[in-house]
Symmetry: none
Subunit: 141 residues, 4 copies
Amino acid sequence: MKQTVIRFSVSIPSQLAHDFDRMMREKGYHNRSLAVADMIRDQLVEHQQQLGQDEIAGSITLVYDHHRHHLQDLLTDLQHEHRAVIISALHCHLDHDNCLEILAVRGHPAEIKHLADELIAAKGVKHGKLVITTTGKNLPA
Amino acid sequence: MKQTVIRFSVSIPSQLAHDFDRMMREKGYHNRSLAVADMIRDQLVEHQQQLGQDEIAGSITLVYDHHRHHLQDLLTDLQHEHRAVIISALHCHLDHDNCLEILAVRGHPAEIKHLADELIAAKGVKHGKLVITTTGKNLPA
Amino acid sequence: MKQTVIRFSVSIPSQLAHDFDRMMREKGYHNRSLAVADMIRDQLVEHQQQLGQDEIAGSITLVYDHHRHHLQDLLTDLQHEHRAVIISALHCHLDHDNCLEILAVRGHPAEIKHLADELIAAKGVKHGKLVITTTGKNLPA
Amino acid sequence: MKQTVIRFSVSIPSQLAHDFDRMMREKGYHNRSLAVADMIRDQLVEHQQQLGQDEIAGSITLVYDHHRHHLQDLLTDLQHEHRAVIISALHCHLDHDNCLEILAVRGHPAEIKHLADELIAAKGVKHGKLVITTTGKNLPA
Protein backbone atom coordinates (compact mmCIF):
# COMPACT_ATOMS: atom_id res chain seq x y z
CA MET A 1 0.00 0.00 0.00
CA LYS A 2 1.43 3.31 -1.08
CA GLN A 3 1.38 5.86 1.72
CA THR A 4 0.61 9.49 1.06
CA VAL A 5 3.62 11.74 1.43
CA ILE A 6 3.56 15.28 2.79
CA ARG A 7 6.09 17.87 1.73
CA PHE A 8 7.01 20.90 3.85
CA SER A 9 9.93 23.27 3.98
CA VAL A 10 12.27 23.91 6.87
CA SER A 11 14.53 26.91 7.57
CA ILE A 12 17.53 26.37 9.82
CA PRO A 13 20.81 28.23 10.47
CA SER A 14 23.29 27.49 7.68
CA GLN A 15 26.00 26.15 10.02
CA LEU A 16 23.51 23.72 11.51
CA ALA A 17 22.41 22.62 8.02
CA HIS A 18 26.05 22.03 7.12
CA ASP A 19 26.69 19.93 10.25
CA PHE A 20 23.46 18.03 9.61
CA ASP A 21 24.52 17.14 6.06
CA ARG A 22 27.89 15.85 7.26
CA MET A 23 26.34 13.77 10.07
CA MET A 24 23.74 12.44 7.62
CA ARG A 25 26.44 11.21 5.25
CA GLU A 26 28.45 9.72 8.12
CA LYS A 27 25.35 7.85 9.23
CA GLY A 28 24.77 6.61 5.67
CA TYR A 29 21.65 8.54 4.74
CA HIS A 30 21.30 9.48 1.11
CA ASN A 31 18.71 12.24 1.53
CA ARG A 32 17.54 14.63 4.18
CA SER A 33 13.94 13.46 4.16
CA LEU A 34 14.86 9.95 5.33
CA ALA A 35 17.12 11.38 8.03
CA VAL A 36 14.43 13.77 9.27
CA ALA A 37 11.81 11.01 9.25
CA ASP A 38 14.01 8.79 11.42
CA MET A 39 14.68 11.60 13.87
CA ILE A 40 10.95 12.21 14.20
CA ARG A 41 10.30 8.50 14.86
CA ASP A 42 13.00 8.50 17.53
CA GLN A 43 11.43 11.45 19.31
CA LEU A 44 7.93 9.99 19.03
CA VAL A 45 9.04 6.85 20.83
CA GLU A 46 10.50 8.88 23.66
CA HIS A 47 7.55 11.24 23.77
CA GLN A 48 4.96 8.47 23.84
CA GLN A 49 6.52 6.62 26.75
CA GLN A 50 3.61 6.50 29.08
CA LEU A 51 4.24 8.17 32.39
CA GLY A 52 2.39 6.86 35.41
CA GLN A 53 0.79 8.81 38.24
CA ASP A 54 3.41 7.97 40.88
CA GLU A 55 5.67 10.70 42.13
CA ILE A 56 8.98 10.65 40.32
CA ALA A 57 12.37 12.27 40.81
CA GLY A 58 14.86 13.20 38.13
CA SER A 59 16.94 15.83 36.44
CA ILE A 60 16.67 18.25 33.54
CA THR A 61 20.01 19.10 31.91
CA LEU A 62 20.23 22.22 29.73
CA VAL A 63 23.01 23.94 27.77
CA TYR A 64 22.42 27.49 26.61
CA ASP A 65 24.05 30.79 25.79
CA HIS A 66 23.18 33.22 28.57
CA HIS A 67 23.78 36.20 26.27
CA ARG A 68 20.77 35.20 24.19
CA HIS A 69 18.26 37.99 24.59
CA HIS A 70 15.57 37.38 27.24
CA LEU A 71 16.47 33.68 27.41
CA GLN A 72 17.50 33.68 31.03
CA ASP A 73 14.44 35.67 32.09
CA LEU A 74 12.25 33.18 30.28
CA LEU A 75 13.95 30.14 31.83
CA THR A 76 13.71 31.64 35.31
CA ASP A 77 10.06 32.58 34.86
CA LEU A 78 9.22 29.06 33.70
CA GLN A 79 11.07 27.63 36.68
CA HIS A 80 9.33 29.87 39.19
CA GLU A 81 5.93 28.91 37.76
CA HIS A 82 6.80 25.24 38.21
CA ARG A 83 8.77 25.67 41.43
CA ALA A 84 6.56 23.08 43.14
CA VAL A 85 8.40 20.34 41.21
CA ILE A 86 11.90 21.88 41.25
CA ILE A 87 14.07 21.05 44.25
CA SER A 88 16.84 23.35 43.08
CA ALA A 89 18.97 24.21 40.08
CA LEU A 90 22.72 23.80 39.70
CA HIS A 91 24.27 26.33 37.38
CA CYS A 92 27.78 25.93 35.93
CA HIS A 93 29.49 28.65 33.90
CA LEU A 94 31.18 26.65 31.13
CA ASP A 95 32.84 29.52 29.30
CA HIS A 96 32.21 33.18 28.55
CA ASP A 97 28.92 32.35 26.83
CA ASN A 98 27.70 28.88 27.64
CA CYS A 99 25.91 27.67 30.73
CA LEU A 100 25.23 24.15 31.92
CA GLU A 101 22.12 24.16 34.10
CA ILE A 102 20.83 21.07 35.84
CA LEU A 103 17.50 21.02 37.66
CA ALA A 104 16.77 18.47 40.35
CA VAL A 105 13.06 17.73 40.07
CA ARG A 106 10.49 15.81 42.03
CA GLY A 107 6.75 15.50 41.71
CA HIS A 108 4.00 14.56 39.30
CA PRO A 109 5.35 13.06 36.05
CA ALA A 110 3.11 15.10 33.75
CA GLU A 111 4.12 18.45 35.26
CA ILE A 112 7.82 17.53 35.12
CA LYS A 113 7.52 16.39 31.49
CA HIS A 114 5.69 19.60 30.62
CA LEU A 115 8.32 21.77 32.33
CA ALA A 116 11.14 19.94 30.54
CA ASP A 117 9.41 20.33 27.18
CA GLU A 118 8.96 24.07 27.70
CA LEU A 119 12.55 24.62 28.82
CA ILE A 120 14.07 22.56 26.00
CA ALA A 121 11.86 24.22 23.37
CA ALA A 122 12.92 27.72 24.46
CA LYS A 123 14.72 29.47 21.62
CA GLY A 124 18.42 29.62 22.45
CA VAL A 125 18.56 26.42 24.49
CA LYS A 126 21.12 24.44 22.50
CA HIS A 127 20.47 21.07 24.02
CA GLY A 128 18.35 19.61 26.78
CA LYS A 129 17.53 16.23 28.28
CA LEU A 130 15.07 15.00 30.87
CA VAL A 131 16.09 12.05 33.03
CA ILE A 132 13.24 10.46 34.89
CA THR A 133 14.12 8.19 37.72
CA THR A 134 12.45 7.05 40.88
CA THR A 135 12.09 8.47 44.34
CA GLY A 136 13.48 5.13 45.43
CA LYS A 137 10.45 4.27 47.54
CA ASN A 138 9.07 1.55 45.33
CA LEU A 139 12.32 0.27 43.97
CA PRO A 140 14.16 -2.49 45.78
CA ALA A 141 17.92 -1.89 45.90
CA MET B 1 24.68 39.30 14.45
CA LYS B 2 22.15 37.86 12.03
CA GLN B 3 22.90 34.29 11.01
CA THR B 4 22.36 33.02 7.46
CA VAL B 5 19.44 30.65 7.19
CA ILE B 6 19.14 27.76 4.76
CA ARG B 7 15.78 26.54 3.51
CA PHE B 8 15.17 23.03 2.24
CA SER B 9 12.13 20.85 1.76
CA VAL B 10 11.38 17.51 3.36
CA SER B 11 8.98 14.77 2.28
CA ILE B 12 7.70 12.36 4.91
CA PRO B 13 4.78 9.94 5.18
CA SER B 14 1.59 11.83 6.02
CA GLN B 15 0.86 9.84 9.19
CA LEU B 16 4.34 10.62 10.48
CA ALA B 17 3.90 14.30 9.61
CA HIS B 18 0.59 14.27 11.46
CA ASP B 19 2.13 12.67 14.57
CA PHE B 20 5.06 15.07 14.35
CA ASP B 21 2.75 18.08 14.32
CA ARG B 22 0.87 16.84 17.36
CA MET B 23 4.07 16.11 19.31
CA MET B 24 5.48 19.48 18.29
CA ARG B 25 2.44 21.28 19.67
CA GLU B 26 2.50 19.20 22.85
CA LYS B 27 6.15 20.11 23.34
CA GLY B 28 5.36 23.79 22.86
CA TYR B 29 6.98 24.47 19.49
CA HIS B 30 5.30 27.03 17.28
CA ASN B 31 6.82 25.99 13.96
CA ARG B 32 8.35 22.91 12.39
CA SER B 33 11.69 24.57 11.65
CA LEU B 34 12.49 25.13 15.33
CA ALA B 35 11.44 21.59 16.17
CA VAL B 36 13.55 20.11 13.35
CA ALA B 37 16.55 22.28 14.34
CA ASP B 38 16.36 21.00 17.94
CA MET B 39 16.15 17.38 16.76
CA ILE B 40 19.23 17.91 14.61
CA ARG B 41 21.16 19.41 17.53
CA ASP B 42 20.11 16.50 19.71
CA GLN B 43 21.45 14.00 17.18
CA LEU B 44 24.64 16.01 16.61
CA VAL B 45 25.41 15.90 20.32
CA GLU B 46 24.91 12.14 20.41
CA HIS B 47 26.80 11.64 17.19
CA GLN B 48 29.78 13.70 18.36
CA GLN B 49 30.05 11.65 21.52
CA GLN B 50 30.30 8.39 19.68
CA LEU B 51 33.15 9.55 17.50
CA GLY B 52 34.69 12.10 19.64
CA GLN B 53 37.65 13.24 21.60
CA ASP B 54 36.12 16.68 22.14
CA GLU B 55 35.46 17.86 25.64
CA ILE B 56 31.87 17.24 26.69
CA ALA B 57 29.63 18.38 29.52
CA GLY B 58 26.76 16.53 31.11
CA SER B 59 25.14 15.11 34.19
CA ILE B 60 25.04 11.85 36.10
CA THR B 61 21.80 11.27 38.03
CA LEU B 62 21.79 8.68 40.83
CA VAL B 63 19.21 7.43 43.33
CA TYR B 64 20.44 5.41 46.29
CA ASP B 65 19.80 4.51 49.90
CA HIS B 66 22.39 6.27 52.03
CA HIS B 67 21.97 3.72 54.81
CA ARG B 68 23.44 1.04 52.60
CA HIS B 69 26.65 -0.03 54.23
CA HIS B 70 29.76 1.69 52.85
CA LEU B 71 27.87 2.93 49.80
CA GLN B 72 28.34 6.61 50.46
CA ASP B 73 32.04 6.16 51.22
CA LEU B 74 32.44 4.29 47.96
CA LEU B 75 30.58 6.91 45.91
CA THR B 76 32.59 9.73 47.48
CA ASP B 77 35.89 7.90 46.94
CA LEU B 78 35.04 7.31 43.28
CA GLN B 79 34.11 10.95 42.88
CA HIS B 80 37.31 12.24 44.48
CA GLU B 81 39.39 10.01 42.22
CA HIS B 82 37.65 11.46 39.19
CA ARG B 83 37.27 14.99 40.57
CA ALA B 84 39.01 16.38 37.47
CA VAL B 85 35.80 15.77 35.49
CA ILE B 86 33.28 16.62 38.25
CA ILE B 87 32.26 20.27 38.53
CA SER B 88 30.15 19.61 41.59
CA ALA B 89 27.45 17.37 42.98
CA LEU B 90 23.93 18.32 43.99
CA HIS B 91 22.53 16.16 46.74
CA CYS B 92 18.81 16.04 47.60
CA HIS B 93 17.43 14.19 50.60
CA LEU B 94 14.28 12.59 49.20
CA ASP B 95 13.10 10.85 52.35
CA HIS B 96 14.53 9.18 55.43
CA ASP B 97 16.49 6.71 53.30
CA ASN B 98 16.72 7.80 49.69
CA CYS B 99 19.05 10.33 48.11
CA LEU B 100 18.93 11.91 44.68
CA GLU B 101 22.45 12.89 43.69
CA ILE B 102 23.22 14.72 40.47
CA LEU B 103 26.79 15.31 39.30
CA ALA B 104 27.62 18.09 36.87
CA VAL B 105 30.50 16.78 34.76
CA ARG B 106 32.84 18.15 32.14
CA GLY B 107 35.87 16.70 30.40
CA HIS B 108 37.02 13.78 28.31
CA PRO B 109 34.13 11.56 27.16
CA ALA B 110 35.87 8.29 28.02
CA GLU B 111 36.64 9.30 31.61
CA ILE B 112 33.08 10.56 32.17
CA LYS B 113 31.60 7.38 30.71
CA HIS B 114 33.89 5.29 32.91
CA LEU B 115 32.96 7.26 36.05
CA ALA B 116 29.24 6.93 35.30
CA ASP B 117 29.57 3.19 34.74
CA GLU B 118 31.35 2.73 38.07
CA LEU B 119 28.85 4.83 40.03
CA ILE B 120 25.79 3.22 38.47
CA ALA B 121 27.21 -0.27 38.98
CA ALA B 122 27.87 0.34 42.69
CA LYS B 123 25.82 -2.05 44.82
CA GLY B 124 22.98 -0.10 46.40
CA VAL B 125 22.57 2.45 43.64
CA LYS B 126 18.95 1.88 42.64
CA HIS B 127 19.00 3.77 39.40
CA GLY B 128 21.42 5.92 37.46
CA LYS B 129 21.62 7.74 34.15
CA LEU B 130 24.37 9.56 32.29
CA VAL B 131 23.34 12.50 30.12
CA ILE B 132 26.05 13.63 27.74
CA THR B 133 25.59 17.00 26.23
CA THR B 134 27.87 19.57 24.74
CA THR B 135 29.96 22.37 26.17
CA GLY B 136 28.08 24.46 23.62
CA LYS B 137 31.25 25.56 21.85
CA ASN B 138 30.81 23.49 18.72
CA LEU B 139 27.06 23.56 18.53
CA PRO B 140 25.47 26.27 16.40
CA ALA B 141 22.57 28.03 18.11
CA MET C 1 5.42 50.30 40.32
CA LYS C 2 7.29 53.33 41.58
CA GLN C 3 8.00 53.16 45.31
CA THR C 4 7.82 56.22 47.54
CA VAL C 5 11.21 57.41 48.69
CA ILE C 6 11.99 59.11 51.99
CA ARG C 7 14.87 61.54 52.36
CA PHE C 8 16.58 62.28 55.67
CA SER C 9 19.90 63.72 56.70
CA VAL C 10 22.63 62.06 58.70
CA SER C 11 25.50 63.61 60.66
CA ILE C 12 28.56 61.49 61.32
CA PRO C 13 32.20 62.16 62.29
CA SER C 14 34.18 63.31 59.26
CA GLN C 15 36.81 60.54 59.53
CA LEU C 16 34.05 57.93 59.57
CA ALA C 17 32.40 59.59 56.57
CA HIS C 18 35.72 59.54 54.77
CA ASP C 19 36.29 55.83 55.50
CA PHE C 20 32.70 55.09 54.51
CA ASP C 21 33.14 56.79 51.15
CA ARG C 22 36.30 54.81 50.41
CA MET C 23 34.72 51.48 51.42
CA MET C 24 31.64 52.35 49.38
CA ARG C 25 33.71 52.93 46.26
CA GLU C 26 35.74 49.76 46.87
CA LYS C 27 32.52 47.79 47.15
CA GLY C 28 31.26 49.28 43.89
CA TYR C 29 28.45 51.53 45.13
CA HIS C 30 27.87 54.72 43.18
CA ASN C 31 25.97 56.64 45.84
CA ARG C 32 25.64 56.71 49.61
CA SER C 33 21.90 56.09 49.60
CA LEU C 34 22.24 52.66 48.01
CA ALA C 35 25.06 51.75 50.40
CA VAL C 36 23.07 52.89 53.44
CA ALA C 37 19.96 51.04 52.23
CA ASP C 38 21.96 47.79 51.91
CA MET C 39 23.43 48.22 55.40
CA ILE C 40 19.94 48.71 56.81
CA ARG C 41 18.67 45.57 55.08
CA ASP C 42 21.66 43.63 56.39
CA GLN C 43 20.87 44.69 59.95
CA LEU C 44 17.16 44.06 59.53
CA VAL C 45 17.86 40.48 58.48
CA GLU C 46 20.06 39.94 61.52
CA HIS C 47 17.65 41.72 63.80
CA GLN C 48 14.68 39.69 62.60
CA GLN C 49 16.53 36.45 63.27
CA GLN C 50 17.20 37.29 66.85
CA LEU C 51 13.57 38.00 67.60
CA GLY C 52 11.89 35.90 65.19
CA GLN C 53 9.61 33.05 64.45
CA ASP C 54 9.44 33.97 60.77
CA GLU C 55 10.60 31.48 58.20
CA ILE C 56 14.17 32.18 57.12
CA ALA C 57 16.41 31.03 54.28
CA GLY C 58 20.16 30.67 54.30
CA SER C 59 23.20 28.50 53.80
CA ILE C 60 25.47 26.27 55.84
CA THR C 61 29.02 26.04 54.50
CA LEU C 62 31.22 23.14 55.65
CA VAL C 63 34.75 21.98 54.89
CA TYR C 64 35.74 18.46 55.90
CA ASP C 65 37.93 15.49 55.10
CA HIS C 66 35.71 12.78 53.66
CA HIS C 67 38.22 10.08 54.66
CA ARG C 68 37.54 10.80 58.29
CA HIS C 69 35.97 7.65 59.68
CA HIS C 70 32.16 7.69 59.80
CA LEU C 71 32.09 11.45 59.25
CA GLN C 72 30.18 11.36 56.00
CA ASP C 73 27.66 8.86 57.36
CA LEU C 74 27.11 11.12 60.34
CA LEU C 75 26.68 14.25 58.23
CA THR C 76 24.24 12.49 55.91
CA ASP C 77 22.26 11.04 58.81
CA LEU C 78 21.97 14.47 60.42
CA GLN C 79 20.85 15.96 57.12
CA HIS C 80 18.21 13.31 56.50
CA GLU C 81 16.80 13.85 60.00
CA HIS C 82 16.49 17.56 59.31
CA ARG C 83 15.60 17.22 55.63
CA ALA C 84 12.46 19.34 56.19
CA VAL C 85 14.67 22.44 56.36
CA ILE C 86 17.26 21.43 53.74
CA ILE C 87 16.46 22.37 50.14
CA SER C 88 19.53 20.62 48.82
CA ALA C 89 23.26 20.28 49.31
CA LEU C 90 26.00 21.26 46.90
CA HIS C 91 29.10 19.14 47.23
CA CYS C 92 32.47 20.14 45.74
CA HIS C 93 35.49 17.86 45.72
CA LEU C 94 38.34 20.26 46.55
CA ASP C 95 41.20 17.79 46.44
CA HIS C 96 41.87 14.13 47.19
CA ASP C 97 40.72 14.54 50.79
CA ASN C 98 38.80 17.75 51.32
CA CYS C 99 35.17 18.50 50.54
CA LEU C 100 33.34 21.80 50.44
CA GLU C 101 29.67 21.19 51.18
CA ILE C 102 27.07 23.93 51.09
CA LEU C 103 23.50 23.36 52.24
CA ALA C 104 20.68 25.59 51.07
CA VAL C 105 18.25 25.79 53.98
CA ARG C 106 14.80 27.18 54.59
CA GLY C 107 12.44 26.98 57.52
CA HIS C 108 12.17 27.68 61.22
CA PRO C 109 15.17 29.60 62.60
CA ALA C 110 15.61 27.41 65.66
CA GLU C 111 15.73 24.15 63.70
CA ILE C 112 18.20 25.59 61.20
CA LYS C 113 20.42 26.95 63.97
CA HIS C 114 20.31 23.56 65.71
CA LEU C 115 21.20 21.68 62.51
CA ALA C 116 24.11 24.04 61.80
CA ASP C 117 25.42 23.64 65.35
CA GLU C 118 25.35 19.84 65.08
CA LEU C 119 27.04 19.74 61.68
CA ILE C 120 29.76 22.22 62.62
CA ALA C 121 30.44 20.45 65.90
CA ALA C 122 30.88 17.06 64.20
CA LYS C 123 34.40 15.73 64.74
CA GLY C 124 36.32 16.12 61.50
CA VAL C 125 34.49 19.16 60.20
CA LYS C 126 37.35 21.63 59.84
CA HIS C 127 35.31 24.76 59.48
CA GLY C 128 31.66 25.69 59.19
CA LYS C 129 29.51 28.79 58.95
CA LEU C 130 25.79 29.44 59.02
CA VAL C 131 24.48 32.36 56.97
CA ILE C 132 20.94 33.33 57.82
CA THR C 133 19.20 35.51 55.35
CA THR C 134 15.63 36.19 54.49
CA THR C 135 13.10 34.51 52.26
CA GLY C 136 12.78 37.98 50.75
CA LYS C 137 9.07 38.22 51.57
CA ASN C 138 9.33 40.72 54.38
CA LEU C 139 12.29 42.68 53.13
CA PRO C 140 11.54 45.77 51.06
CA ALA C 141 13.66 46.05 47.93
CA MET D 1 39.03 67.14 71.10
CA LYS D 2 35.90 67.93 69.20
CA GLN D 3 35.67 66.01 65.96
CA THR D 4 34.36 67.61 62.79
CA VAL D 5 31.00 66.28 61.75
CA ILE D 6 29.84 65.80 58.18
CA ARG D 7 26.18 66.01 57.19
CA PHE D 8 24.76 64.32 54.11
CA SER D 9 21.31 63.27 53.01
CA VAL D 10 20.11 59.80 52.17
CA SER D 11 17.10 58.68 50.10
CA ILE D 12 15.68 55.24 50.74
CA PRO D 13 12.37 53.48 50.02
CA SER D 14 9.75 54.53 52.54
CA GLN D 15 8.97 50.99 53.73
CA LEU D 16 12.66 50.43 54.42
CA ALA D 17 12.87 53.74 56.30
CA HIS D 18 9.88 52.70 58.38
CA ASP D 19 11.42 49.30 59.23
CA PHE D 20 14.71 51.03 60.02
CA ASP D 21 13.06 53.40 62.49
CA ARG D 22 11.34 50.53 64.28
CA MET D 23 14.54 48.48 64.49
CA MET D 24 16.45 51.56 65.69
CA ARG D 25 14.01 52.08 68.54
CA GLU D 26 14.08 48.37 69.44
CA LYS D 27 17.86 48.53 69.56
CA GLY D 28 17.69 51.64 71.76
CA TYR D 29 18.98 54.30 69.39
CA HIS D 30 17.57 57.77 69.82
CA ASN D 31 18.51 59.16 66.43
CA ARG D 32 19.25 57.87 62.96
CA SER D 33 22.73 59.37 62.76
CA LEU D 34 24.03 57.27 65.64
CA ALA D 35 22.47 54.14 64.19
CA VAL D 36 23.94 54.80 60.75
CA ALA D 37 27.37 55.52 62.23
CA ASP D 38 27.36 52.19 64.08
CA MET D 39 26.35 50.30 60.96
CA ILE D 40 29.20 51.92 59.05
CA ARG D 41 31.71 50.95 61.77
CA ASP D 42 30.43 47.37 61.69
CA GLN D 43 30.93 47.14 57.94
CA LEU D 44 34.38 48.75 58.10
CA VAL D 45 35.58 46.08 60.51
CA GLU D 46 34.40 43.33 58.18
CA HIS D 47 35.71 45.09 55.10
CA GLN D 48 39.15 45.70 56.56
CA GLN D 49 39.73 42.11 57.57
CA GLN D 50 42.95 41.47 55.75
CA LEU D 51 42.81 38.62 53.32
CA GLY D 52 45.97 36.66 52.69
CA GLN D 53 47.31 35.36 49.41
CA ASP D 54 46.51 31.69 50.01
CA GLU D 55 43.81 30.06 47.95
CA ILE D 56 40.52 30.03 49.79
CA ALA D 57 37.16 28.33 49.37
CA GLY D 58 33.80 29.64 50.43
CA SER D 59 30.27 30.60 49.52
CA ILE D 60 28.36 33.68 48.46
CA THR D 61 24.68 33.65 49.49
CA LEU D 62 22.28 36.02 47.71
CA VAL D 63 18.54 36.71 47.92
CA TYR D 64 16.94 38.66 45.10
CA ASP D 65 13.77 39.25 43.15
CA HIS D 66 14.29 37.72 39.71
CA HIS D 67 11.61 39.99 38.23
CA ARG D 68 13.79 43.01 38.85
CA HIS D 69 14.65 44.42 35.44
CA HIS D 70 18.02 43.28 34.05
CA LEU D 71 19.12 42.00 37.46
CA GLN D 72 19.52 38.40 36.44
CA ASP D 73 21.43 39.32 33.29
CA LEU D 74 23.77 41.45 35.36
CA LEU D 75 24.34 38.72 37.97
CA THR D 76 25.03 36.13 35.28
CA ASP D 77 27.39 38.42 33.39
CA LEU D 78 29.35 39.14 36.57
CA GLN D 79 29.54 35.43 37.31
CA HIS D 80 30.77 34.52 33.83
CA GLU D 81 33.49 37.16 34.04
CA HIS D 82 34.67 35.68 37.32
CA ARG D 83 33.95 32.06 36.40
CA ALA D 84 37.57 31.15 37.23
CA VAL D 85 36.70 31.40 40.94
CA ILE D 86 33.15 29.99 40.79
CA ILE D 87 32.80 26.23 41.10
CA SER D 88 29.08 26.36 40.53
CA ALA D 89 25.90 28.09 41.63
CA LEU D 90 22.93 26.56 43.42
CA HIS D 91 19.67 28.31 42.66
CA CYS D 92 16.51 27.82 44.75
CA HIS D 93 13.15 29.26 43.78
CA LEU D 94 11.76 30.46 47.12
CA ASP D 95 8.44 31.80 45.90
CA HIS D 96 6.96 33.46 42.83
CA ASP D 97 9.44 36.35 43.07
CA ASN D 98 12.34 35.55 45.34
CA CYS D 99 15.44 33.50 44.58
CA LEU D 100 18.06 32.13 46.93
CA GLU D 101 21.32 31.73 45.02
CA ILE D 102 24.43 30.26 46.58
CA LEU D 103 27.77 30.28 44.79
CA ALA D 104 30.50 27.82 45.72
CA VAL D 105 33.77 29.67 45.18
CA ARG D 106 37.44 28.82 45.23
CA GLY D 107 40.53 30.83 44.35
CA HIS D 108 42.35 34.02 45.14
CA PRO D 109 40.86 35.91 48.11
CA ALA D 110 40.94 39.34 46.45
CA GLU D 111 39.04 38.19 43.37
CA ILE D 112 36.44 36.39 45.46
CA LYS D 113 35.97 39.45 47.71
CA HIS D 114 35.64 41.65 44.65
CA LEU D 115 33.06 39.35 43.04
CA ALA D 116 31.02 39.20 46.27
CA ASP D 117 31.09 42.99 46.61
CA GLU D 118 29.85 43.47 43.06
CA LEU D 119 27.07 40.91 43.38
CA ILE D 120 25.85 42.23 46.72
CA ALA D 121 25.97 45.85 45.54
CA ALA D 122 23.82 45.07 42.49
CA LYS D 123 20.55 47.00 42.67
CA GLY D 124 17.77 44.58 43.49
CA VAL D 125 19.85 42.13 45.52
CA LYS D 126 18.03 42.24 48.84
CA HIS D 127 20.68 40.61 50.94
CA GLY D 128 24.02 38.94 50.42
CA LYS D 129 26.81 37.41 52.48
CA LEU D 130 30.28 36.11 51.72
CA VAL D 131 31.59 33.20 53.79
CA ILE D 132 35.30 32.66 53.46
CA THR D 133 36.60 29.36 54.63
CA THR D 134 39.60 27.21 53.85
CA THR D 135 40.39 24.68 51.17
CA GLY D 136 41.24 22.44 54.11
CA LYS D 137 44.83 21.89 53.01
CA ASN D 138 46.47 23.92 55.72
CA LEU D 139 43.97 23.29 58.43
CA PRO D 140 44.40 20.33 60.74
CA ALA D 141 41.13 18.58 61.49
